[in-house]
Every structure is written in structure tokens, then in C-alpha cells.
């Protein structure tokens, strides 16, 4: 199992890079053959349905210029990544841009599209507050990595949560002595990729640090997962929601929030004075989320090709916190803000296989509705 843990993500990254390079070559040839006039004559407006975390990126004026030079204008709507596949109006879009390979596969399956373009990636991370760090360190949940950034031990955290621990019961907790359960706020697993990835991560821990990859495993761990979600009560259907609550409502609403690293970095990079109390914790292990374009029409395909091949797009994506094959711009920008960031995410697991994840989600759903 350890082998799988190490090899799985590495393989995925190689595949990702491979697809990117292949596409890049074919596009460059094609573009050379085209001339500017023809591209403009073929101007298209591409209707994109995206996960909410990419809304600001996709409406960036610089990105609009790059797309415009390729004869593309886009209109953007957002939805929970896992809701996209079941949208009754999916056929009216040219491209879907969910977070995560699983959500993309689901869309490819329902739409019949075989044109799937992995673009940028980001690790799952936990947004929290500096005032909680001493308490979480004392409980052995959080530790500093070379004084540069913080690691959150998912096994210890899941253990604390499954014991129904209250914040006020954590040792030496004078910072946040409230009766609420220690709980990670996430999105709705049924509707959103980030919630589903959190489930995948927690299920890995519950399965004795093994990726859940059989029906039997899924059945075994599912019931212990329900509480992580039911105790949260109402959950948002897309990733932007919990992150907005985190920035606007603070620690009282959101002491720990499962987010994409990208959301936090986008916030930090777009603010002159980011809230100094906010802190990002890197789960160990974590899951990488690959933002993936599913082209639904020829125009959507044109959009997907530009997005995954144009180096300017990759540079803009990094300004919004996304990682790419070469994330040096991102690292430099983040470090210039005085923030430590791991250049390589080492302790990465694969999410459960598509059908297994769906099974887990189905079981959690049934538990929530009971």
C-alpha cells in the first residue's frame, strides 16, 4: 500500500505533464498554420461552467486579453464541481471546468465528451487561525515545518474529531474555549469536489492509512465518516462559500476549513494587507486536486487548448494561486509576501477510485438523510 501511496500521485503528475506537452506541440503547429485574420474571423464566445474557486481567475482582465488574441471571449457561470454533471442545462455550455479529476470524469460520462484537459493543480489544505496554533500544537495535531509552514496531522485530527472532542476540552485552550465540536468545515460532499476530497482523505485515515479501493473497505469506513459531515449541519455546495465565510466571519464560524491551497494563496496575493491572523495548514497526507476542462463543443475545445498550452495563461493562473508544472512564479510571489510554501507536496495520496468515491458519497448521503 505504501508503494501505491508513493507511486500513484507521481504517475498522475507525469501523465498530466505528458498530456500538457503533447497538446502544446499540436497546438503550436496548428497556430503557426493559422493566421491572425482567420482567427479573428473565427471569433467565438465560449460559455464555461466552472467550480466557484476559479471565478476570479477566469474573469481576470489579463486572461481575457490572452483569450481575445486567440479569438475567444468567455462567459462564466459557477456551480459546485460535482453538480455540473447533473445540471439540466449542461448541454448549453461549451466547456465545464470542475475542480478534480473525478468531477471531470463524471461530466465526461454524462456528456459523452472524450475531450478532457487537465490544467492546473492545487493541494487540499486547511485554513485556520494563528491564535489556535499553540492549542493544536499542544494536542499534537499541528507542527511547524522548519519554521516555514505548518503541517496538520490528519490521522491525529480525525482521531480527535471521531472522539467528539470539544474545543474547550483541548488542553490549555484559553484561545478558543467554546463548546462546539472540533470539526473541519467542508463543502457538501454530494455537490462539491473539495468536500469529496476531504471525504477521500478522512476515509484513507479510517481505513488504516490505506486508500479505500474495494466495496468492502468503503462499507467498512463509511459509517464513521457520516459524523464529520452531519455535525456540520448545513454545508455550502461550492468551495468559494466556506472560504468566504472564513474571510468574512472569522474564527467564530470557521476555526478549521477544508479548502484548496489556491484559494488561500489567491487571497494573500490579491491583498496588500492580508489578515495577519490567518494561517494555512498543510495536511499530511493530502490529496492533489487537478482542475480539469471538459470540452463539450468545438469552441469549448479551442478554449481548453489555449488554457492548457499558452504559457501566459499558466503565468496568470499562478497569480491566482494555482500550481503548474513549473510554479516558480507562484512561489516567488507568495514568498515575497513573507509566507512559507512547500515547493513540493510530498505526502500525497490518491483519492479513491471514481466508483469507490461515488459509493462512499452515497453512503454518507444516506447517513445524512437518515
Amino acid at each position: 500500500m505504501n508503494l501505491r501511496k508513493a507511486v500513484g500521485p507521481a504517475l498522475a503528475v507525469v501523465l498530466l505533464a505528458g498530456v500538457g506537452i503533447a497538446i502544446r506541440h499540436s497546438i503550436r503547429d496548428k497556430m503557426d498554420a493559422d493566421n491572425a485574420a482567420r482567427r479573428i474571423a473565427n471569433r467565438v464566445t465560449v460559455k464555461v461552467l466552472t467550480g466557484s474557486e476559479k471565478e476570479k481567475f477566469l474573469t481576470d482582465p489579463e486572461l481575457a486579453k490572452v483569450l481575445d488574441s486567440e479569438g475567444i471571449a468567455i462567459t462564466v457561470q459557477k456551480a459546485g464541481s460535482r453538480e455540473i454533471a447533473t445540471r439540466p442545462d449542461l448541454a448549453s455550455f461549451d466547456a465545464a471546468y470542475p475542480a478534480g479529476t473525478h468531477a471531470a470524469l463524471k461530466i465526461a460520462e454524462t456528456s459523452g465528451s472524450k475531450h478532457v484537459y487537465p490544467s492546473f493543480f492545487t493541494p487540499m489544505a486547511v485554513a485556520s487561525w494563528k491564535t489556535l496554533i499553540p492549542v493544536l500544537e499542544k494536542s499534537g495535531v499541528v507542527s511547524s515545518k522548519n519554521g516555514s509552514y505548518f503541517i496538520i496531522d490528519m490521522a491525529k485530527l480525525v482521531d480527535i474529531m471521531k472522539k467528539d472532542t470539544r474545543w474547550k476540552d483541548l488542553p490549555d485552550n484559553t484561545a478558543y474555549p467554546v463548546g462546539k465540536a472540533v470539526l473541519v468545515t467542508s463543502t457538501d460532499v454530494r455537490k462539491s469536489n473539495s468536500g469529496a476530497m476531504y471525504l477521500g482523505l478522512a476515509a484513507y485515515i479510517a481505513n488504516g492509512n490505506n486508500v479505500v479501493d474495494t466495496d468492502a473497505d468503503a462499507n467498512k469506513v463509511a459509517s464513521s465518516m457520516v459524523g464529520l459531515f452531519s455535525k456540520q449541519g448545513y454545508q455550502e455546495s461550492s468551495s468559494a462559500g466556506p472560504f468566504e465565510d472564513y474571510t468574512a466571519m472569522g474564527i467564530g464560524k470557521s476555526p478549521l476549513v477544508m479548502i484548496y491551497e489556491q484559494q488561500f494563496l489567491e487571497y494573500v496575493l490579491s491583498h496588500d494587507k492580508p489578515n495577519p491572523d490567518m494561517v494555512l495548514l498543510y495536511p499530511a497526507p493530502t490529496i492533489l486536486s487537478k482542475h480539469t476542462i471538459v470540452a463539450l463543443t468545438d469552441n469549448g475545445e479551442r478554449f481548453a487548448q489555449v488554457m492548457t498550452s499558452n504559457p501566459k495563461v499558466s503565468s496568470i493562473a499562478q497569480h491566482y494561486g494555482f500550481r503548474t508544472q513549473d510554479s516558480s512564479e507562484l512561489f516567488a510571489a507568495v514568498e515575497a509576501k513573507g509566507l512559507g510554501i512547500p515547493h513540493t507536496i510530498v505526502d500525497v495520496i490518491d483519492p479513491p477510485r471514481y466508483d469507490i468515491l461515488e459509493k462512499l458519497i452515497g453512503r454518507v448521503d444516506a447517513g445524512l438523510n437518515r
Binding site: 464566445t45 460559455k47 439540466p88 462546539k180 467564530g252 464560524k253
Partner: protein, 535 residues
Amino acid sequence: MNKSLIAVLAATGIATAIVTSCGPNSSNTFQNKPAPPPSSFSILAGSELKDIEGSLKEDIRAATGLDLKFTYSGTLDAVDRIAAGEQFDALWVSHGKYLAMNPAMKGRILAQEKTMLSPVVLGLKASKAHALGWDTEEPTWKDIADAAKAGKFTFGMTNPASSNTGLTATIGLAAALAKNPDALTEADLKNPRLADFFKGESLTSGSSGWLAESYEHDPSKVDGIINYESVLLSLNAGGKLPEPLTLVYPREGIITADYPLMLLNDARRADYDKLAAYLRSADFQTRMSARTLRRPVNSDAVAAAAIPKRTLIELPFPGQASLISALLDTFLADVRVPGSSRYVLDLSGSMRGDRITALKNSMLLLASSPTQSSDRYARFQNREEVGIVTFSTETGPTLIFPMGSTAAQNAKTRADITAFIDPLVAKGSTAIYSSVQRALTELSQERSRGTEKRYYTVVLMTDGENNRGLTREEFEQWYSGSDGQSVHGIPVFPILFGEGNETDLRALADLTGGRMFDSRSNSLSSVFKEIRGYQ
């Protein structure tokens, strides 16, 4: 270059074809267009958003070119109106989670964005908060329930079936009174301490705005009210209160309203995007906070100085609509202070035809056992006592219909009311004030005999001028004189209908601490449902 080409393409109709093929979203593309003339954008809104229309509508129009047309409604009523096919471009309420979970709304909310924040908290007279020690050490909800049960303080709160502040306070309370403050579960609904809390409730209302007005008008009624932080801060800033309210944030936590703007009409998506973006901009949010004392949803905006800088512990909101419905059912049937009422109904000749049909249908709705959301909560409830006084030339006999406290008694009384209402006929003149006097006198006698706390209210439905019995002047003299003293504190809720005299009815509502409802712009049955929140 590009722009001129676009212009050429537009002229040839190609751009138009693009616009048509991709729908209304194309204004979202990155082309510069001259600002169009203001276009109307319809919003079904919670009444607590009236301050936005009052003070920020012009800013919104200047920035977005959208002329917002507000129609106000309670949250549950909004669900019914949308389910019934009423068309609005967007829905804007203080709290959208319960609404969004309602099966009738499935597929109708096409986008949503939070626009403002305000927690629902307890505002208590400063002297009372000090006496209870809550000004220096914040109480838990459990402390508050204990103090309410022991009669140490009284408060006003809106009806949870009618208004968001009452609903969220009840949800928060139910969660907080449980062993652990997690998301509500079935078991939490049976908690006897819920009823302890409501022993301190002495004023109710169907809307948080009216609750605040009512308190401001006569702060002697109760020691405090549960309302939005923004409303309580505004009361303090208004300078009309004899003593300020101390805001109490219970330790287990509170529930914050986040005012989602929800798109209903896909054809207006581009305008919706523009509106939502503007409402969420730091500039608008800072101004909004200064004017309304709500908290910004955009962390780049500046919150008004009057808003306490403190951590707000947020309680989880239930994830299942069925739990909230069950909480409301429990509240109405077993927990709330029960109501005793008189429905004073005009059967004069002018009521013939459509009018008496509308009146009967409204009363029959309250006496029915419907399954639809707001109808279900509006019907006559367990433990309630319904009195009906019909009048025309003379005041008719009073019929009392006790709902009892079992399902069988409930059903029998509903049938009795239906049997009484069905055959009513309209004829004769209009003796309004004599009839209201009778209703008030009877209720005050019941009140003085009563052993349990109840809400006593009179509903007056009339379509014409008073022309028999007591005159308005005689009634007002009686009410203000020594004989009328005993009926004070029983509000009259007149319904303006047909040729009813608005000045007279409004004066009657003001005199008795009630509120006039206008059924000329809304169906009579929805007015009857709305009044249920005040009983």
C-alpha cells in the same frame, strides 16, 4: 482594431447571432458597450431589506443601471409565491438556507451570493442586563432559559414560522440547549427547556421590523427583544429609547443572517452578476455597513464603528429542511405561548359576492389541515382558542372554538369552525366599533380569569365605514377612559378591504398597539396568514 471589427460584425448581424446563441450572458464578455438606460429588475425581498430600498437604491441604480423593484414578503410566503408561479428576477432574503432546502425551490435558485451579515442576538435593557450580571459575563442560552423560566426577565421575539429572526433564534436555542451545541437533531426537539425559555416571552410579532418599532414605541412592554444585531444597534443609535439595549451574545453561539441574493430568472443573469458584484464590492459594503449597521461580507470593506469587534461563535445551521419543519411544528403545537383571539368579521350587505367568498376562503384556510408550507403553519394550532364575532347592523353572538390539546380535539374544532363559516350570508349595515369593543371586553375578562400566559389579539375584517352602534369618537373615549383600561395591551389588527376607511382603521391599530394590514394590494388569504404571525 478588435473593437471596430466587432462593430462591423454587429452591423452585419453576426454578433447578434452570437448574442442569441449564447443567451443573455454575452454582456459578460469583455467588450465595451455604452451604459444602457436604467432597466427594471424585480426582487421579491424580505421586509428587513426595506432599509436598502430606502437608503441605497439610488447608489445601486447609479452604479449598475438597474432600477430595483422590491416586493416584500415573509420567507415562507416567498416560497409559496414562487411555487405558485409568480415571476421575479431575483429573491433577496435575510437567510436563504431553509428556503433553499425547500423542495418547492428545487431548480429555481440559479445562482446565489451572500451580501451582508448580521447575527440574531438578544438586546436587553442596560439596567436589566446589569441586574442579571450579563453585562460583565455573557450568559449561556441555558442561563437565559433559566432566567426566563424564573420570571427574571421578559422579552419579545418574532414568530419562528413567520420571520427569520424568530426561526434562527429558535434553531440556535434548540441546538444550544442540547448536551452539545452541534447541528440540530430529532432528539433536541423534545427538550423541555425549550418551553422554559418561552415562558419569558411576552411580545410576539410576524416581522422583526414591527417588533423593533413596537418596542421603540413602548419599551415598558418587555425587558428586551431578540432581533438582528443591526436592528438593535440602530435602535440604540436612534435616540428614542429611554435606556439603551445591551447586546447579549450567548456563549454557545448565535446564528448569523447572510442575506443571499438569489437569481430566479435566467434571462437576467448578466444583470444579476453585475448587481451581485456591485453589492459585494468593498465600496458598497463599507457604505452599506455605515448606513445599516450590518457587517460586511467582503473582508476588504470597513465595518461601521458601532458594530462590536468581537468573535461571533456561529452555531451550525441544520442541514435538513425536515428537521426545521419538525421544530416549527413542535414550537407551534407544544412550546409557544398559546393564543386567544377574536376574529371580528364584517357580514354587511356590501360583503356579498366575491368578498364574502374571499373571507370564507381565508377563514377556511386557517381551519384546514393543509400540507403546504406556510399554510400549514398558519392554521389554527393546538391549545389555541379561536373566537369569532360576526357583525352587520348589530354585533352577532360570539362563538368560541377551543382547539384543545389532542389531535382529535384539534380536528373536531377545525370541523366545527368550517361548519360555522360555510353558511354565513352577508346583509345589513356596519357596526364596527361596538363589535370591537365586545371582542376586547371578552378577551380582557378571559385574561383576568386566566391561569396560564396567553397572547390575546383581535382581528378586524371590514370592507366599509362604521355606520351603526358606537362611533369612532365614542369608542376612543371609552378606550381612553376608566372603563377601557382593562382592555389595554390587547392589540387590534384591522384588515383594510374594499371601501374600508384607512384613516379609521390605522387609528384603531395605533390606539391598541396593533398593526393595520392592507389587503387591497395582496390577497385576503395571504393577509390572514401574515396576521397569524402576530397572534
